[in-house]
Amino acid sequence: MLQIESRSFAREHELFACVQCGKCTAGCPMALKTKLNPRQLIQRLLVAGNGFDLEGREELWDCTTCATCSTRCPKKVNPMEMIIGLRGAFVEKGRVHPNVKTALESTFRQGNPLTMPRDQRGAWASDLSLKPMAEGTEYLYYVGCTPSYDPRVQKVARSLVTILQKAGVDFGIMGNQENCCGSEVRRLGEAGLFEMMSEENTETFKGLGVNKMFTTSPHCFNAYRNDYPKNGMQVQHYTQILAGLVEGRKLEFSGRLEKSITYHDPCYLGKHNGVFDEPRAVLAAIPGAKLIEMDRSRTKSLCCEGGGGRMWLEGTNPGLRLAQLRVKEALETGAEVLATACPFCLQTLDEAVKHLNAEDKLQVMDVAELVAQAL
């Protein structure tokens, strides 16, 4: 038994507005391959009286929080937030997958969900002599957990630093003082821990005099932009900074990149925050680069299955991976490079390319890496 008070839950999440049209389930990338059916879940909660048993509803952990359901709902219901809320009931009872438990504990103790030591966070930049963030520095570059620790994604952070230094952007980093943004923690249903982190981080930013920041990951970008209390701080994704440099002609390319590129919109950049044009504008500015669009692009972009805590969870149907479907779509375009602008997308798509033995046909690269190559 895992009972929740469904009536107050339904009110809190405004589920009574639902007309049962099914648009959420229709667009859900997981609905076709798992039991996840947001529309039906809403109806079950509405008719449950005051007690609803979540026992056995493993499909709640399939959700990637891609936001397709909530952005398309004609009645402004937010099924994604409903699912995050229901996960909270599992977390409260400690009834979560061991991986999730480890990730949450690591975030609490080490400030990252990757079980990496806190005092190694800034190590990736030890040879770069970057300015520590302080009052008066224009931007904080909030690096994020994966780009700080993962060797593959560290390359993205290093590429971005190269570009920004060349363009003369004034920025600082927090090094070991940087703490996880809590985005994944919140989406795994640990609202309490998220709130604590949000307060802590807000205080730290205030102490450092941060007015403007940019992030590597769309997930951190979204958390600071939409989940944290509004405090007047300007939050941008790095592709927005680069697009600004391109537009202001402050980015000089001395090299060329004779490659055909197809761009995969990360959910947390595109669907969640409407940033579709900036990454494309940056790619289009690279001399020699040829952009090809996949059929599913922009608001229709297919989720890579890496969000919503799914980096730590296989899901109920690990056989058919969305990232593999996505790589197949990219291969169909004939592009040589599958570009993206998200650490999670980079990792899942990279793995899918390997799984499909397509490494000789398709290379998964971050926008920042591609720009750096043509500088």
């Binding site: 007309v19 049209c21 099914g22 389930t25 667009g27 004609p74 922009r298």
Partner: protein
């Protein structure tokens, strides 16, 4: 001989609307002790015939010269009581109303403070009543002509009716030809009539009518005047002509929802995805073909751009269900081999013969699946509609050679501009707002301006015709009567105080104030003045007053309130509240 006020006060129970929360007897007793009051009575329904007779008899028997009714809002019954007072032999402006329902009993709970507030409102009204002056309403002749804006089916029908009744009509249309959206339809629902046969004769009648002046490629540039005597500037190219009319019918129509605003549906990106508007042209061309082939699988999708808060159109467009049914039936008829599926949220077949038509369409072999599709993607040379069949509880991917999006109606992009030109309001859906949703569906808040057709909200053809004819009838009232009554409560200038600075003229939206050519002071055109009082507030010398709302009258009302001594109230009468 000095004027001695003799005021009668009449306190209404309004059934239990007032009496359940206000101690009506206590208010009546209180009123009887107010200065100038010679009689004070209460009654169940003051607006009823016996209630009105009380007032009329007292005017005669007790020689009343001022009357106060404490009841509902003046918007509700001021005309009723003014007429009763006039019937009793008094000038109708010797009447004042205290609103103890909307401003008291309906918004407070039962108890002494509520009754005390009612007493205050009555005392305030009595204070004003003793200072009221008789005023005379005036009649001015009307211009026996009308302006109709918009040459679609609504505007043409209104124009025809008004012209047939014997009045001159100017019909203004922006585009080069008449006919509007209906002119672009192939067949109508539910009778499958050929639209051309329906609209052509109407266009012919309008074009050749001796009393209709059709001005195409023209638009309204400016509107002045008031009900009965508007002066409208109509622009045609570089030239603007002045058209004097007595009434205006607005029939500016709608815009088709732009399906590109739902990029996930691929309209504009996939040639296989078209709208119901495109389908009309396709069907009229004789051949239903996509990419040079006859489609084998056809999918219709309801509610595109309607009932959708995600794009800001919360309303139902009311026609799309039946348009999709009509088009689905045309596909069945022309392409008997094709599979036809309709994805729907609800089927709203509310009109005459609509449900029967929907029955026939299903029986013809069209499959209705309940579910609002989320997106359309490409798969090979087909497109795939991703939906959930909510009755099966299963996500489905329906392949199609042709997808038809049932697009809704939305307000025209120029609705805001037209609204400010004519001083019309818009409802939350963005369409023009009627004066009252139930009782005055074709009127606007502006006297003499009426609404016809889809500019007021989504409608089908018969509803549009009904409203067009209703608007025409309403517009003809001032024209047939030949005169309109001008409000007596207008502003006036104290020439001793006026310095002629003109601040009042700059603030007046009715252009009613002007500088007298020789006396150097401002004068009010009482025909144009609507009595809004903006000029009185703006005047730095306090030289402008509004009749029936003079400074003395308003100050008397306020002073009574500020000096109000709370009378001791006996134990509140218990009033039995009827069980709902």
């Amino acid at each position: 001989m000095a004027f001695i006020p003799r005021v009668g006060v009449y306190v209404c129970h309004c059934g239990i609307n007032i009496a359940a929360t206000v101690d009506v007897k206590a208010v009546t007793a209180f009123a009887s002790r107010l200065p100038g009051v010679v009689v004070s009575r209460d009654y169940t329904y003051m607006c009823s015939d016996p209630g009105q007779s009380l007032i009329k008899n007292d005017i005669r028997d007790l020689n009343l010269n001022r009357v106060v009714v404490a009841s509902c809002s003046p918007r509700m019954h001021e005309p009723t009581f003014r007429a009763a007072v006039a019937d009793g032999g008094l000038n109708p402006y010797c009447f004042e109303m205290a609103n103890i329902r909307e401003q008291c009993s309906w918004v407070h709970t039962s108890g002494a403070p509520t009754t005390q507030k009612a007493m205050q409102l009555v005392a305030s009204a009595v204070a004003k009543a003793t200072l009221l002056q008789p005023l005379e309403q005036r009649q001015v002749p009307t211009t026996p002509a009308a302006l109709v804006i918009g040459g679609g089916i609504a505007g043409m029908q209104s124009a025809l009716d008004i012209a047939e009744a014997g009045f001159q009509v100017t019909l203004v249309e922006r585009s080069p030809q008449l006919g509007g959206h209906v002119g672009h339809l192939h067949r109508t629902f539910p009778t499958l009539e050929v639209t051309d046969d329906l609209i052509r004769p109407v266009i012919e009648s309008v074009t050749h009518h001796p009393r209709i002046r059709v001005m195409t490629e023209s638009e309204v540039a400016g509107v002045g005047g008031y009900v009965g005597n508007f002066l409208v500037g109509v622009r045609h190219g570089q030239e603007t002509v002045e058209v004097p009319v007595g009434a205006i019918v607005v029939a500016t129509g709608f815009e088709i929802f732009d399906a590109r605003r739902k990029p996930e549906l691929g309209y504009g990106a996939y040639p296989e995805v078209i709208t119901t508007a495109d389908f009309e042209r396709l069907a009229a061309s004789g051949e239903i073909r996509v990419n040079g082939r006859e489609p084998k699988k056809v999918v219709f999708i309801h509610c595109v751009g309607s009932r959708d808060q995600a794009i800001g159109n919360a309303y139902c467009s009311r026609i799309c269900c039946m348009v999709a049914a009509k088009q689905a039936s045309l596909v069945r008829e022309r392409l008997p081999q094709a599979d036809v599926t309709v994805f729907f949220m609800d089927v709203r077949a509310f009109g005459k013969n609509f449900e029967e038509f929907y029955d026939d369409v299903r029986k013809s072999g069209v499959v209705y699946r309940r579910g609002n599709p989320s997106e359309i993607i490409r798969r090979g040379d087909r497109v795939v509609v991703r939906a959930e069949d909510t009755l099966l509880g299963e996500p489905v991917e329906a392949e199609a050679d042709l997808v038809v999006l049932a697009v809704g109606m939305q307000p025209r992009a120029d609705t805001g501009a037209v609204a400010s030109l004519l001083k019309l309001s818009r409802s939350s859906d963005g369409f023009f707002m009627e004066a009252h949703p139930k009782l005055r569906p074709v009127d606007t808040a502006m006297a003499g301006i009426f609404l016809a057709g889809t500019c007021q909200g989504p409608k089908d053809i018969p509803e549009t015709i009904s409203q067009a004819r209703a608007a025409a009838s309403a517009a003809m009232i001032p024209l047939m009567r030949g005169q309109v009554t001008i409000e007596a409560a207008t502003s006036f200038v104290d020439e001793e105080l006026c310095s002629g600075c003109g601040q009042c003229a700059s603030i007046c939206t009715f252009a009613a104030l002007s500088l007298h050519p020789t006396r150097g002071v401002m004068t009010v055109n009482a025909v144009l003045c609507q009595g809004c009082g903006a000029c009185a507030t703006a005047c730095p010398s306090g030289a402008i007053n509004v009749k029936h709302f003079t400074f003395d009258q308003v100050m008397a009302q306020i002073e009574v309130l500020s000096d109000f001594e709370v009378p001791s109230i006996p134990v509140p009468a218990t009033v039995e509240t009827a069980q709902a």
